[in-house]
């Protein structure tokens, strides 16, 4: 009962957040000085042609009506225009990109695997590397190892991702010529090439994020190692490895997992800079392109999807919390 109430409350909150995000996107877009119908109307657009294009795109309606049409289309689909020249967007319809002549869902279907490949691979790498570095640094506090690890972490935290990416391309792609510098190969097409093309993007993202996680893990670990329960565990004669991993690290992971979940959720909405540097067309690149071309449908659809990732990530983090910490 308590669990059911928890789940229903969370679900209601998630839906409310998604509605707010989508509404905010629509309102912000209409405040901006851009006209997607004018962009679609082409060169030498006359006022009558502009009216026809605006009506076709569904933009002649009041903003509130356009927003409701957008929401309704998610469940019922929609049709742009009438007659033989109309364009049908089947449910679940997140909109139609007139710039790319594709449904937003198909664009997401194409770009999401790219972003997911970058994000999940990099996330696994930075979690393992960052946590390990932080633990090692904490256990060897004050030693040369600690200083080297933390100095590297500072570099990682400070370096702009664009610069790191370009330097990696220059070194490994051009100078050493051992890794590809651009392009995405689908996992289904060739798992080996898929991974090969992702090594540099993974390392770029992981280097920067691992630095942050390393510093956080070190700080949390130092606190945990000073706690009474750790002293008790050592006094009981447990092996140091067991003390560190089963006792200290388990508590340290609670805030780490919280941050990890949020970071992955946000990254799934698009690793913009990494995608751009490595010429990978993921959600981030799709969204930036849509903003540049005032493609409202794509902006709304991708923003809503990104919000879904964040709220779901939050929800999963809350669930994981209960597993990691029985007191919750």
């Amino acid at each position: 009962m308590k669990t059911m109430r928890f789940l229903l409350t969370k679900l209601a909150g998630m839906i409310a957040v998604l509605l707010l995000v989508s509404l905010a996107t629509y309102l912000i877009f209409y405040i901006l000085p851009a006209d997607p119908a004018r962009t679609e109307c082409g060169r030498l657009c006359t006022p009558s042609e502009l009216r026809a294009v605006r009506a076709f795109m569904g933009l002649a309606q009041p903003v509130w009506r356009q927003y409701l049409d957008f929401l309704a289309a998610i469940f019922a689909g929609r049709t742009y225009g009438t007659g033989p020249g109309s364009i049908v967007c089947s449910a679940p319809c997140l909109g139609y990109s007139f710039q790319q002549n594709r449904t937003v869902l198909s664009l997401i279907g194409q770009t999401l695997p790219v972003t997911a490949s970058i994000a999940l691979g990099a996330a696994a790498a930075w979690l393992v590397a960052g946590t390990a570095a932080g633990v090692i640094s904490a256990l060897r506090r004050g030693t040369a190892t600690d200083r080297v690890v933390m100095t590297t972490a500072i570099v990682g935290v400070s370096a702009p991702s664009y610069l790191v990416g370009l330097l990696a391309i220059l070194l490994f792609g051009f100078k050493l010529n051992i890794l590809p510098v651009s392009g995405y190969v689908s996992l289904l097409q060739s798992p080996a090439q898929w991974a090969f093309h992702l090594i540099l993007p993974w390392c770029t993202l992981a280097f920067i994020s691992a630095a942050i996680y390393g510093r956080l893990t070190r700080s949390q670990m130092l606190d945990a190692l000073g706690e009474d329960y750790v002293r008790t565990a050592r006094a009981k004669g447990l092996l140091e490895r067991r003390v560190v991993v089963r006792h200290a690290l388990r508590n340290v992971m609670i805030p780490i997992i919280t941050m990890f979940g949020l970071d992955v959720g946000a990254l799934l909405g698009g690793a913009v800079i990494t995608e751009k540097v490595y010429s990978m067309y993921g959600l981030g690149a799709l969204l930036i392109g849509a903003v540049q071309t005032t493609d409202l449908s794509t902006i709304s659809g991708v923003t809503l999807l990104a919000a879904v990732f964040v709220v779901v990530a939050n929800f999963l983090v809350d669930l994981t919390y209960k597993l990691l910490d029985p007191r919750v």
């Binding site: 006209d35 060169r43 002549n101 751009k276």
Partner: protein
């Protein structure tokens, strides 16, 4: 052509070149005029492009006749672009560049024999008509559209999908097409060379899906296309080279790699590794990499730079209350320091001072300078003009896109006008915001606007009419100066209606001078664009127009 700020998918005109080379007016490959080799057949060409999408429905394409669309679609006419000499309009699918009658209101074309689509279907006049009619559908209205206001009887027409046809495009048989225009129009041969006029198999091109699997008429067909990733073009086996002397059809296959980072793209081409030898870049070489090319003889030899062509200018808002007085506007003409704008653009070999609106390479251009003030300007004369106008402490707003080059140019303008006692407030905006402000229906919000322009086809009409005709004010159109001068309109109408191109050129030159006499615009510089190719790419050159390589001539050494 498109102003970089206004168009989706447009290449950034703002990135100009720091150039090595000869600095000559013609395009160079680092060592003088390139020689054109006979086009070898074979190989796979790779084009590296920062764009994330390609528009594969001709109704919506803004591509130039000799770049991407020239590889896929033929039109009734096309452009003949040589490394030197003026561009020409020449027959493509048609047997001539058009036969005018009724004073230029009617244009007749006869199609060649032996012309086919990529599905093996013969190309007929009905297909040409259908392709043009499609451009009137709201779903497909995003193209260049020069033909739309010219073809007679199109008011309220919304395309052929409901079964309605245009009676003003007559096809008495499969080989003849006759256009009835609503006024005499001497540039019609250029208009039919635009991509919107490409034929499409009649009845087989739905609005929503034709661009996914287009049926082409040029030397290549689309094998696959993934937005943000790549497009693969393969030989159109039905393309008849004997009917198409304007395209090399050299490579067997073309891989269009999209979504490239311009810096990485340039580095790849500079390195000229095994993956880059058969490639060229569709983007301007960034300034940082141009400096690198300068010190790399191998890369320098593979750099191609356009003649100075696209015009960078300041549009003077004629509806601004502060600029109503002609003497005030003339002061702006005299005060400008073009030398500092050249420096801000990237140096003397990246741009050269401009004094006319018709740009180099366009027939009919007459060099002149209505406000001879030297390249550094004459702030003293500007002050005198302001005093004569009774204007003191003038403060005006300059709207500019916020890319680095435009920002640098704006600051140069600000400094130049400051020397003449004119305070310039720079309003730096994103491209979309800039476009919405200066092409919108309200004249308020700016006094000056920094802009640039290259025509969509090499006619003086496209230097003047879109920018200065009174019916191009607002509604997203490009008369950013908001010039409404009946004298200029009359010259535009007369020039457009003159069929003899030499005579039309003289009238366009008059229109150029009339706009400058109004001081509605301050021409700044003509820009140059630079591109890199791999070592195995041949016939990669830029003519006098456009300021882009001629993709349809490129081949690979075999």
């Amino acid at each position: 052509m498109r102003k970089h700020i206004l168009l989706p998918g447009a290449a950034a005109v703002a990135l100009t070149a720091l150039l090595a080379a000869c600095g000559g007016a013609n395009n160079t490959s680092g060592s003088g005029t390139p020689t054109i080799a006979p086009a070898d057949k074979g190989g796979t060409l790779t084009i590296l492009d920062s764009e994330t999408t390609l528009t594969l429905d001709p109704a919506q394409s803004w591509s130039l006749a000799v770049t991407s669309s020239g590889l896929l679609w033929r039109r009734l006419t096309t452009w003949k672009i040589a490394p030197t000499g003026a561009p020409e309009v020449v027959p493509d699918l048609a047997t001539s560049d058009g036969t005018p009658s009724d004073g230029g209101r009617v244009w007749t074309y006869h199609l060649k024999s032996g012309i086919y689509f990529s599905n093996g279907q013969p190309i007929t006049s009905y297909d040409v008509k259908y392709g043009i009619e499609r451009t009137y559908a709201p779903a497909l209205s995003g193209g260049l559209n020069y033909q739309k206001p010219l073809i007679a009887g199109t008011a309220g027409y919304t395309g052929p999908f409901s079964g309605k046809q245009l009676s003003s495009i007559v096809t008495p048989n499969s080989k003849t097409i006759i256009f009835h225009l609503n006024k005499p129009y001497g540039d019609w041969p250029w208009v039919v060379s635009t991509t919107s006029m490409a034929p499409v198999p009649e009845g087989k091109a739905p609005a929503a899906t034709f661009g996914d699997h287009p049926i082409t008429s040029g030397p290549y067909a689309v094998q696959s296309y993934t937005p943000g990733n790549s497009a693969i073009l393969v030989r159109n086996k039905y393309w008849n080279a004997a009917t198409d002397p304007n395209r090399s059809g050299g490579p067997d296959k073309i891989i269009w790699e999209l979504n490239q980072d311009p810096t990485v793209e340039a580095q790849t081409l500079i390195a000229d590794g095994p993956n880059a030898e058969n490639s060229f870049g569709a983007d301007f070489v960034p300034p940082a990499q141009l400096a690198q090319v300068e010190n790399d003889p191998s890369a320098k030899a593979r750099l191609v730079t356009s003649p100075a062509s696209p015009l960078e200018y300041v549009a003077v808002n004629m509806q601004s209350p502060k600029l109503k007085n002609l003497k005030v506007r003339e002061a702006l003409e005299y005060a400008i320091n073009r030398q500092s704008v050249v420096v801000a653009s990237g140096g003397p070999i990246a741009a050269e001072p401009a004094t006319t609106l018709i740009t180099p390479g366009i027939a009919g251009r007459e060099p002149y300078n209505l406000y001879p003030a030297g390249s550094a300007g004459e702030p003293a004369k500007a002050k005198t003009l302001l005093t004569q106008a009774g204007v003191h402490n003038l403060t005006i707003t300059l709207a500019t896109p916020n890319d680095p080059i435009s920002t640098a140019i704006s600051q140069a303008i600000q400094q130049a006008y400051s020397a003449a006692g004119i305070k310039v407030v720079i309003k730096s905006l994103s491209e979309n915001a800039w476009g919405a402000l200066v092409t919108g229906n309200s004249a308020s919000g700016y006094d000056l606007a920094l802009s640039s322009w290259q025509p969509d086809f090499p006619s003086a009409m496209d230097n003047i009419e879109p920018l200065f005709a009174s019916d191009m004010i607002g509604n997203g159109n490009y008369n950013v100066s908001r010039l409404d001068d009946p004298k200029v309109d009359a010259l535009i109408d007369r020039a457009e209606g003159t069929i003899n191109q030499a005579a039309a050129g003289k009238i366009w030159a008059q229109a150029d001078k009339a706009v400058m006499a109004d001081a509605a615009v301050v021409p700044l510089v003509y820009n140059r664009n630079s591109f890199l190719r791999g070592s195995n790419v041949q016939n990669f050159y830029i003519g006098e127009f456009p300021a882009y390589p001629v993709y349809t001539a490129v081949s690979l050494k075999q």
